[in-house]
């Protein structure tokens, strides 16, 4: 039986049609798009078409608002650093406690360089307080950077409304939308979002290609200066094959948009109900009523995530976890901690993320495989008795050091 891939928020399989579209750009279509001759010109035409496909997917007003980059992280760094450089008198950044490291680590670094970073906190379901946000908006803020959807829980933030509030206050707004693009419809021409990051490999394009959407008129300072590529906003010879691939992936994503919010969502819901019906002491993290259609994050109490993943992997199922051990750090996922998920559960969170390739049969196999794995690990756990968690786990266990 083929293995089951439920880790699509980490990366996705490149669609065969995408591979087919990009292959000629390694061989006969090898020209440099900046060249005058026909070798280059044909590639230039292909890039133009790809740019328009991405424009359509994002609902952007102009194709020149699409700047190709190497990845989501580059887009995030470009956006935030550009805002700081273009407005040197503004020394504050607003972001959230649950951002991806692409934003959070950069902001922490900027804090050491003297910038003030405001991190909006979330409640138990991973939701933001807009009142607090309104208070923070001021002339000192260079940029707001808030993710559209959380990669771990799938929880959606009201970025369109937040962008509107930022615009009213005269503040630039950026969103890391790598988990949303291709899964939910986006209409940037009717939004106040100034900058948006996306990553190709999250929507069935290959790794190594990303986009920074840059609304026309937004003050901008490039991260990479050099040649005139991307109108001088991102110098460096274009990743032609990657750009063509992303263009094709964008077309396919648009065609499958309804499938995501119907079929994929139904499969996700089936998986959630199937697991919760059979596994005791398990719950969904994040906001179940407002999340990506493909994402399910479940906390299994009193067991540890890496151990769950290893057993799932042995059963041919790929998922991911927010446990400390999977990352090599000492703390469980910052997203789980920000939501106040207790340690008894935070170490045992597992994320299942589906795609348009996920089938009913696969979901049924996962529903059957999970309960015995959880039971097996709980049997080993000192916090789990014969029929459930031991009474007062922290007291029943008397460590010599903690």
């Amino acid at each position: 039986m083929a293995d089951i891939y439920l880790d699509n928020n980490a990366t996705t399989r490149v669609d065969p049609a995408v591979v087919e579209a990009m292959l000629p750009f390694f061989t006969e279509q090898f020209g440099n798009p900046s060249s005058l001759h026909s070798f280059g010109n044909r590639v230039g035409q292909a890039l133009k078409k790809a740019r328009q496909s991405v424009q359509t997917l994002l609902g952007a007003e102009h194709d020149s608002e699409i700047v190709f980059t190497s990845c989501g992280t580059e887009s995030d760094s470009t956006a935030i650093l550009s805002a700081l450089k273009a407005q040197p008198e503004r020394r504050e950044i607003i972001t959230t406690t649950v951002e991806h490291p692409a934003v959070l680590t950069l902001c922490d670094q900027l804090a050491t360089e003297g910038y003030t970073v405001h991190k909006l906190e979330v409640d138990g379901k991973g939701r933001l307080s807009l009142d607090k946000y309104r208070e923070l908006l001021s002339d000192n803020v260079a940029i707001v950077s808030v993710m559209w959807a959380n990669n771990e829980t799938g929880t959606l933030f009201p970025v369109e409304e937040m962008a509107r509030l930022a615009e009213e206050a005269g503040v630039m707004f950026h969103t890391d939308a790598v988990q949303v693009v291709g899964k939910l419809p986006i209409d940037l021409k009717n939004s106040s979002i100034h900058m948006l990051s996306l990553s190709g490999h999250k929507l069935h394009a290959p790794k190594g290609i990303g986009v920074l959407y840059l609304k026309r008129g937004t003050r901008f300072r490039p991260l990479l200066r050099g040649g005139h590529q991307e109108r001088g906003r991102r110098a460096g010879t274009e990743n032609a094959a990657g750009i063509v691939a992303l263009g094709k992936a964008a077309e396919l994503a648009l065609a499958h948009m309804e499938h995501e919010s119907t079929v994929v969502k139904a499969l996700r819901d089936q998986l959630q109900e199937g697991i919760l019906a059979t596994v005791p002491n398990a719950f969904v993290t994040g906001d179940p009523d407002n999340r990506l259609p493909n994402t399910l994050n479940i906390a299994f109490e009193y067991i540890e995530g890496e151990a769950i993943l290893l057993l799932l992997n042995k059963a041919g199922i790929a998922a991911s976890s927010g446990s400390a051990c999977t990352s090599g750090s000492l703390e469980p996922s910052h997203v789980m901690r920000a939501m106040g998920i207790p340690y008894t559960a935070a170490h045992g969170t597992v994320r299942f993320s589906l795609s348009r390739y996920t089938t009913q049969d696969e979901i049924e196999r996962v529903i059957a495989a999970v309960p015995p794995i959880v039971a097996q690990l709980r049997k080993l756990s000192p916090y789990w008795g014969e029929h459930g968690p031991v009474a007062e786990p922290e007291k029943a266990f008397a460590p010599v050091y903690g």
């Binding site: 540890e304 266990f397 050091y401």
Partner: protein
């Protein structure tokens, strides 16, 4: 995903001795649910012979925590308590054909649980101020606590110093930014500011290719002085200060031949409670041998003394006064 050995996988997928031992007369608990791993070891010990008849574990933790627990129970069954106490965390890791550097603490936890269980059986109180920080240097598995303590104890001011003292940063060098950040903080705490070393060309040593030197023959093993020999036979808990220092000297003497093979050496400078100050000499800095690392020396001392000690490298023989450690 981690690069686990086949042995780790085997002990994780099919753990041996899972569950509590019936009629256990020794229990050792370590870790906590907040840390992400916790281990309870239960032993059934024959009161006449002190032989471990049965061992069982209950573990909340990752794959290598469960595998280390399983390995430990397999190792100790049939051993006397005294022999079991000689098992080091490295022995557990070796039994599993090695663990990734980030996962070595799983084997440490196994050893701690064993010590706790034996202390429980003997009615002793086990004191532990086990401290672990986030890993800074992955090449030599040096954590933040070790780097900070060493910077403080020696008033270090450069990345090169930190590497010379702890080996951290002596490998791939990608942790130098983190070390600089720690230096900046620790130096600010003592009222100084960190200044990075100037960029300079590195002197290249040209080493002619030749066959490796033959390891030192057996006579280089140090002969044990009579006084030290008597110290070795005294139970650690009953040692006087002088006996304890002699015992530490003995442990260092046992490590010395390995260091000398690599043209290095170690010298005891001072002992202050749990802090043992040593001077590392010669080629130890870039050496990859585990026994030559501070962690290796510290582990050997902890095992031999049966108490938690911290090995801190210093540069000179002058008495060390450490504040805030």
């Amino acid at each position: 995903m981690w690069d686990y050995s086949e042995k780790v996988k085997e002990h994780f997928y099919n753990p041996k001795n899972a569950g509590a031992v019936v009629e256990a007369n020794a229990v050792g608990d370590v870790g906590s649910i907040s840390c992400g791993d916790a281990l309870r070891l239960t032993l059934k010990v024959d009161p006449r012979t002190e032989i471990i008849l049965d061992a069982g574990f209950q573990t909340f933790g990752c794959g290598s925590a469960i595998a280390s627990s399983s390995a430990l129970t397999e190792m100790v069954k049939g051993m006397t308590l005294d022999d079991a106490l000689k098992i080091s965390n490295q022995d557990i890791a070796d039994f599993l054909d090695g663990l990734p550097p980030e996962k070595m603490h799983c084997s440490v936890m196994g050893r701690e649980a064993l010590r706790a269980a034996i202390a429980d059986y003997r009615g002793e109180k086990l004191e532990d101020d086990h401290e672990e920080g986030a890993l800074v240097c992955k090449c030599f598995a040096i954590d933040e606590v070790m780097v900070r303590d060493t910077i403080k104890a020696n008033s270090l001011s450069s990345v090169e110093d930190v590497t010379n003292y702890t080996k951290a940063g002596g490998g791939c060098s990608s942790c130098h930014e983190k070390i600089e950040a720690l230096l900046t903080e620790e130096m600010a705490a003592r009222g100084e500011s960190f200044v990075p070393a100037p960029i300079k060309g590195k002197e290249k040593k040209i080493v002619p290719l030749k066959t490796p030197a033959i390891p030192a023959p057996a006579e280089s093993v140090p002969t044990v002085a009579p006084a030290a020999a008597s110290a070795a036979s005294i139970a650690p808990a009953k040692m006087t200060g002088v006996q304890r220092i002699r015992r530490i000297e003995l442990v260092l003497a046992a490590i010395r031949p390995t260091l000398q093979r690599d043209h290095g050496d170690v010298e005891l400078v001072d002992v202050d409670g749990k802090n043992i100050y040593v001077k590392l000499i010669g080629a130890c800095t870039g050496c990859q041998l585990a026994s030559a690392t501070l962690g290796g020396i510290q582990q050997k001392l902890i095992e031999d003394l049966g108490e938690f000690v911290k090995v801190i490298p210093v540069s000179n023989n002058a008495p060390v006064t450490v504040s805030g450690v």
